[in-house]
């Protein structure tokens, strides 16, 4: 056993540099009440790939707040996906599930990662996957394994392979960043000396709409991530802000002040076909489509205080949605259309609340302050938001029931304006 300890210590030390290179670091500050105990045995032969598959899978599952990762004991020989499992032994270790796998180098220099998931309680093999990959696909493959395990054990699609967008401010620079959902693999999509705000992912995950002040005024751009090509989607007299994609990607809802006060408009993503939707005597902004594309939720102060309203996506009569409290803004709708997340003022603090749209039951889910820009993970389980801790802008993720909490910080910079990207096929 002492030898094992030493081995484990070496293992951990070997991994630290890998994580230290990630710009965005994640700290888990709250976990779910019921966590599934899972053991992930070290993947046999993974040293050939830079031994990180096991570590990433463990970190992914742990971070979700729905799993408790058990320490895997030393096993000789190191088990692989074809090794038989001593279910009684794992039951005695209180594991509900076990992942065993291997990494092999192929003759063509690529790698093969195979794994199997076992239901320890039932003593059953829950199948597995084999991937053929090149070295630079290692992280993506580990996230796919996490997605597979997460879905098999919870019945919910995992979001470990999705990406997030956010804006980092360092000194005078604003950078629009794209990273994996775990904060790793960060890349700069746009760097500017003027603010970049309100990024919104296209439904296919290939483009972002956002507001850039590079011409000293707010202009809506659509930016293709793969080739960096960008074009103006809305640049009218006055303010152009708050873009939101329709679920089919064919339209953007925006807030424009070209005809006076800020009102809602629809525009094609190429900038053509602008059409006015709302006509109120207040400020109408922050539109967002319901997942079925039928409705727009938005913020308006037409009633005297900023509140969330809903209107048909083609225009028409609006209905007020939030009534509790004097300040409710930044609506977002969960992917299943059932939950509204928004920012509410609660005793001088700005926090994230959710409302069950069927029962109109509201619930505060954060205890931070200056929360803004909530966005749902594509499986609806987590909400990403920006908040302020110790005077610095940080990102935070909270489960939609408020139980699981994570904080994402960045070294030497403010991070803000997060947006969780869609599932990619």
């Amino acid at each position: 056993m002492p030898r094992m300890r030493r081995l484990l210590a070496a293992f951990v030390v070997a991994f630290l540099p890998q994580f230290a290179t990630a710009q965005l670091s994640i700290e888990i500050t709250g976990a779910g009440a019921q966590r599934i105990p899972v053991a992930v045995a070290p993947f046999a032969g993974e040293a050939s790939l830079g031994p990180v598959i096991t570590a990433i899978v463990r970190a992914d599952l742990e971070r979700s707040g729905m799993f408790r990762i058990l320490e895997a004991p030393a096993m000789v020989p190191v088990p692989t996906e074809v090794s038989a499992v001593n279910y009684a032994e794992w039951r005695s270790r209180l594991a509900d599930a076990l992942v065993q796998g291997s990494v092999a180098v192929r003759p063509d220099g690529r790698f093969e990662v195979r794994f199997k998931l076992h239901d320890v309680v039932k003593g059953a093999d829950l199948s597995g996957v084999a991937y053929t990959l090149s070295r630079d696909q290692m992280r993506a493959t580990a996230h796919r394994i996490s997605d597979y395990v997460f879905e098999k054990l919870t019945g919910i699609r995992g979001v470990f392979s999705t990406r997030i967008a956010y804006v980092v401010k360092r000194g005078p620079r604003f950078e629009l960043m794209i990273a994996d959902a775990d904060g790793a693999g960060e890349e700069t999509a746009l760097a500017s000396l003027e603010p970049i705000i309100s990024p919104a992912w296209s439904p296919d995950g290939r483009r972002l709409a956002y507001v850039s002040f590079e011409n000293k005024k707010p202009v809506v751009y659509v930016h293709s991530l793969l080739d960096g090509k960008r074009h103006v989607a809305a640049n009218f007299k006055g303010s152009n802000s708050a873009p939101a994609w329709s679920p089919d990607g064919s339209r953007l809802a925006v807030s424009l002040s070209r005809d006076g006060g800020s009102q809602l408009y629809l525009v094609n993503p190429d900038g053509s076909g602008v059409r006015r939707l709302s006509s109120s005597n207040g400020i109408d902004t922050e539109p967002v489509f319901s997942p079925d594309g039928q409705s727009l939720y938005f913020t308006s102060d037409r009633g005297g205080s900023p509140q969330v309203y809903r209107m048909p996506a083609g225009g028409g009569e609006s209905q007020r949605v939030t009534f509790e409290g004097g300040y409710n803004v930044s609506p977002r709708i969960s992917p299943d259309g059932r939950l509204l997340a928004y920012i509410t003022r609660n005793g001088g603090k700005y926090q994230v609340a959710t409302m069950d749209l069927a029962t109109r039951q509201g619930q505060l889910i954060t205890d931070s302050d200056k929360d803004e820009s909530p966005s749902f993970a594509p499986n609806g389980r987590m909400i990403l938001l920006a908040t302020v801790v110790g005077g610095r802008g940080v990102l935070s993720a909270v489960s939609s029931d408020g139980r699981v909490k994570q904080r994402l910080t960045i070294s030497a910079g403010d991070v803000r304006e997060p947006a969780w990207g869609p599932f990619t096929k």
Partner: protein, 125 residues
């Protein structure tokens, strides 16, 4: 602990002939997937490093001209006027500054002024 470990190692080592509980299901096959190969199944689309092209607008910094409004000793170099919370009246301490800019603009009609409003953290961002 040691006994358990040995038993465990034995079980793992004898994979081929280890006893199988009767209720254990037939092991499911490992599904083959190509990660990112041409014509691969739709279930895999790897996120390759460098999949985001970088657009940098920060190189376009203009050298400041030495006009009166850029001369730090001139009142015209001061641009900020602060209002009280929920108020829109220009406070007395800023009247001289506003007047100076008004005179400067009137005597230099070719100049343009951008008026920009900013807020602090009171209220949501």
């Amino acid at each position: 602990m040691r006994a358990i470990l040995i038993a465990f190692a034995a079980a793992a080592g004898l994979a081929a002939c280890s006893s199988t509980p009767e209720d254990e299901q037939k092991p499911a096959a490992v599904e083959e997937r190509q990660q990112g190969a041409p014509g691969s199944s739709a279930s895999t689309q790897p996120v390759k490093p460098g999949s985001v092209a970088r657009v940098d607008l920060t190189g376009a910094v203009k050298a400041p001209a030495r006009a009166p409004h850029n001369d730090t000793g001139n009142i015209l170099s001061r641009r900020s006027i602060y209002y009280d919370l929920d108020q829109y009246t220009v406070k007395d301490q800023y009247r001289e500054l506003v007047d100076a800019h008004a005179r400067y603009l009137r005597s230099n009609p070719q100049l343009k002024m951008l008026v920009q409003g900013n807020t602090d953290e009171r209220g949501s961002r």
